[in-house]
């Protein structure tokens, strides 16, 4: 990845665990913020999908966490951090179809095991760091291809 350029916009949202009624609406706010900043529609679309899947991971599986949006001239970054429980095998959760979702979540259309693959598909880079008993941090980077470096 190219050298970093200072961010122009930064905002964060707290995400409560198991709060499905509010779930998904950080993603809509992120989408709105990106559009108002004039971010390219294709990048907004990808960021929206990444954010929704990340937000759902926090809601369904974590003990609560935070989403940070950082917009720079050359990239959009989404950081998802939580207070646990952590992921034992990060390679496993990257596999399409793998899910630990409970039945109630599957009945609502979650837990198809496509969340993290969707995040990877719509990011230029997805880093996952996790420690069981402590928590997980994911950083998704979406490059703004129209940025010409000037």
């Amino acid at each position: 990845m190219s050298p970093r350029i200072p961010p122009v916009f930064r905002r964060y949202w707290e995400v409560a665990p198991k709060d499905l009624d509010r779930a998904g609406f950080v993603s809509i706010e992120v989408r709105r913020a990106l559009f108002s900043l004039g971010v390219e529609p294709e990048v907004v679309k990808r960021a929206g999908i990444v954010c929704f899947e990340g937000e759902m991971n926090l809601v369904l599986y974590s003990e609560g966490g935070r989403i940070v949006l950082v917009v720079s001239p050359d990239r959009v970054e989404l950081l998802f951090s939580d207070r646990g429980p952590g992921i034992a095998d990060v390679d496993l959760v990257r596999q399409p179809g793998y899910s630990t979702a409970p039945d109630w979540a599957r009945e609502l259309g979650f837990g198809s095991g496509l969340g993290i693959p969707n995040m990877e598909q719509n990011s230029d880079e997805l880093k996952i760091h996790s420690r069981v008993g402590e928590g997980t941090v994911m950083r998704a980077t979406i490059l703004r291809r129209k940025y010409d470096g000037r």
């Binding site: 499905l20 998904g24 609406f25 809509i28 989408r31 929704f52 899947e53 259309g109 969340g115 969707n118």
Partner: protein, 110 residues
């Protein structure tokens, strides 16, 4: 064909009217939200059994033309309220997903 024309042609019930003038080119059937996020296209008609709040978020993020709930399924009022606030169209079809998809397909690709 617009969403409004499709509504009239198939006699669908309009629960929440977003942009009924939006053009429709296709549709997607799924109850798994990640499937819709991965594969639905902008302006698609999304045929589903899901009727909870997150459907509104997915429809908004994917710029879905209209959500069609099948078998006469009705969402709770908080869902229609939210859909109205976000400008997401929600339609109800009395028939099964199979039949609903078939009729919409026939209307779009006669």
């Amino acid at each position: 064909m617009t969403v409004g024309e499709l509504v009239r042609e198939l006699g669908l019930e309009v629960l929440v009217a977003g942009d009924l003038e939006a053009d429709v080119h296709g549709g997607y059937c799924a109850d798994l939200l990640s499937e819709v996020l991965a594969h639905a296209a902008k302006g698609d008609i999304w045929i589903t059994h899901q009727k909870h709040l997150n459907v509104v978020a997915v429809a908004k993020l994917k710029e879905i033309g209209a959500v069609v709930l099948v078998r006469g399924l009705r969402p709770p009022q908080e869902v229609t309220d939210r859909a109205r606030a976000e400008g997401v169209t929600i339609l109800v079809s009395p028939t099964s997903a199979f039949e609903t998809a078939g009729r919409i397909h026939r209307a779009l690709f006669p």
